[in-house]
């Protein structure tokens, strides 16, 4: 059975109106995505949601929309949760467990502060050494990548500069000022080798997707649906000490499964959204998804391949580094991929989500 994303919408983004809750943002985006399909919450029978602020996210979503689902899933896989939900919703629809699935996300982390919005679950044996998480884990991975493969701070900076170049062409991006490699290198250090400009933004925001079988979408007259060609998830550890190799992520597993299901390879991908929590992460995912050999991600980023005009347009709205990063960015990455397929002429769009401390990896391949 072919499953399509029939509707996709963002909530308000950036810094939202005072008093707005994560439930409000989920509901706002959901109503917009449903309206785009000519549907209402009463038509939804599957709810999928996660938020660091809402442990009962799908239940909160049900209350906000006054929906009574027959399938409900609040799976928490961190930043890639929306991709895991896409996987679960696709599977549930194919199994007949629900017909119209709504996946939603909302965060007010900028308004309430990141410490309040995202309580870190600390490892008992890491805590005494006070690693500032999550950045310390990504800094350790970056340091190890530099040690093993000769990756340079300039190559890391190229990821941020590329994202900014995309943001400069997107009027909805949170930051659009000129950014150079020298600016990134000169920014205050947070956790060596990562500085402030190597880190994603902290914004409010959310989004929603409406999924259904392609036949159902056509029966409703919805012909702009985006096909879920392949989607997969994997995880390798919860805390960074337990990650087998800091330079090999489980993206190699989720990516291989998603490509196999789609029957496609990296050469078929027209654009990529690669989770950019920190500048090291797209470099790791380029390698682990097979866009280049292990260790070659830094030079690939430095070559301009990811930037506007490059061979692999990546993080094309400006990404978490320059567009928006409302805590768990998988949802906005999926919405951007849908937009690329509908408006930019892409045939195949890849989205790769990451969660925790390189812990969870989810890959989706979408097509027209």
């Amino acid at each position: 059975m072919s499953v399509v994303i029939a509707g996709a919408a963002e909530s308000d983004l950036g810094q939202v109106a005072p008093g707005t809750t994560p439930e409000d943002l989920m509901a706002q985006a959901s109503l917009r995505a449903l309206a785009a399909c000519g549907l209402t919450p009463a038509d939804v029978d599957g709810l999928f949601a996660a938020s660091t602020q809402l442990p009962w996210a799908s239940v909160s979503l049900g209350q906000a929309l006054r929906t009574r689902p027959r399938y409900s899933d609040s799976t928490q896989l961190g930043g890639g949760s929306a991709l895991a939900h896409l996987h679960h919703a696709r599977t549930a629809i194919a199994a007949g467990a629900c017909d119209v699935a709504l996946i939603a996300y909302g965060s007010t982390q900028r308004s309430v502060g990141r410490a309040a919005a995202s309580v870190q679950e600390r490892d008992l044996y890491e805590a005494p050494y006070r690693p500032p998480l999550p950045i310390a884990a990504y800094a350790l991975a970056a340091a190890r990548h530099m040690h093993e493969f000769g990756t340079t701070p300039k190559q890391l900076a190229a990821v941020a500069v590329s994202a900014r170049a995309w943001a400069q062409g997107n009027e909805r991006a949170w930051v659009r000022e000129e950014l150079t490699v020298d600016d990134v290198l000169a920014a205050p250090r947070v956790c060596d080798p990562l500085g402030v400009r190597d880190c994603c933004l902290v914004t409010d925001g959310g989004g929603a997707l409406v999924l259904m079988a392609e036949e159902r979408a056509h029966a409703l007259g919805l012909t702009e649906g985006v096909r879920v060609l392949g989607v997969a998830e994997a995880h390798s550890h919860r805390h960074i000490t337990a990650m087998p190799s800091l330079v090999h992520t489980a993206a190699s597993e989720s990516g291989a499964r998603a490509f196999a299901e789609a029957g496609l390879g990296v050469g078929d991908v027209d654009s990529a959204q690669l989770y950019d929590a920190f500048t090291i992460t797209p470099i790791l995912f380029l390698e682990d998804l097979g866009f280049c050999a292990k260790g070659d991600g830094g030079p690939l980023a430095e070559s301009g391949a990811l930037a506007p005009g490059g061979v692999l347009p990546t993080n094309t709205n400006g990404g978490g580094l320059s567009y928006q990063h409302p805590g768990m960015n998988g949802m906005l990455m999926l919405i951007e991929a849908v937009r690329r397929l509908r408006e930019e002429g892409d045939e195949v769009a890849l989205v790769h989500g990451n969660g925790g401390v390189l812990s969870t990896q989810c890959t989706a391949i979408l097509g027209r």
Partner: protein, 117 residues
């Protein structure tokens, strides 16, 4: 009642010993878990696998490192003294029941290669 893994680690640490577990195949395991593992004590020697300097606002910078112990397990710790490069040989030093590491003066010339995956 079975003692918790954390209690076993703490009991050893109180005596300046770094306890870890081995699985049925004899492979070192960290962090400690419940379920059929045997306890062992590390010799406290290893190499820096990865390191970073954390620079929280309003605080002195400090080291956060991952250490590969020679027995085959990895822990988070702090390297004290002068900053050391990844691959540097280190040895355990205990401070208030917490295991830290310092450059190993006996083997300071050795630098470990990349760890296998």
């Amino acid at each position: 009642m079975e003692p918790s893994p954390a209690a076993v680690v703490a009991e050893h640490a109180a005596h300046g010993r770094l306890a870890f577990q081995r699985d049925r195949e004899g492979r070192a395991v960290w962090p400690p878990r419940v379920g059929g593992f045997t306890w062992a004590v590390s010799a406290g020697r290893g190499a820096v696998y990865a390191s970073t300097t954390a620079r929280p606002r309003g605080e002195e910078p400090y080291d956060v490192s991952l250490i590969d112990l020679d027995e085959g397990f990895r822990i988070m710790s702090r390297v004290v003294g002068a900053p050391v490069a990844i691959g540097t040989r280190v040895r355990a030093v205990w401070q208030d029941g917490l295991v830290l590491f310092e450059a190993d003066p006996d083997r300071s010339a050795e630098v470990a290669g990349p760890s296998p995956r």
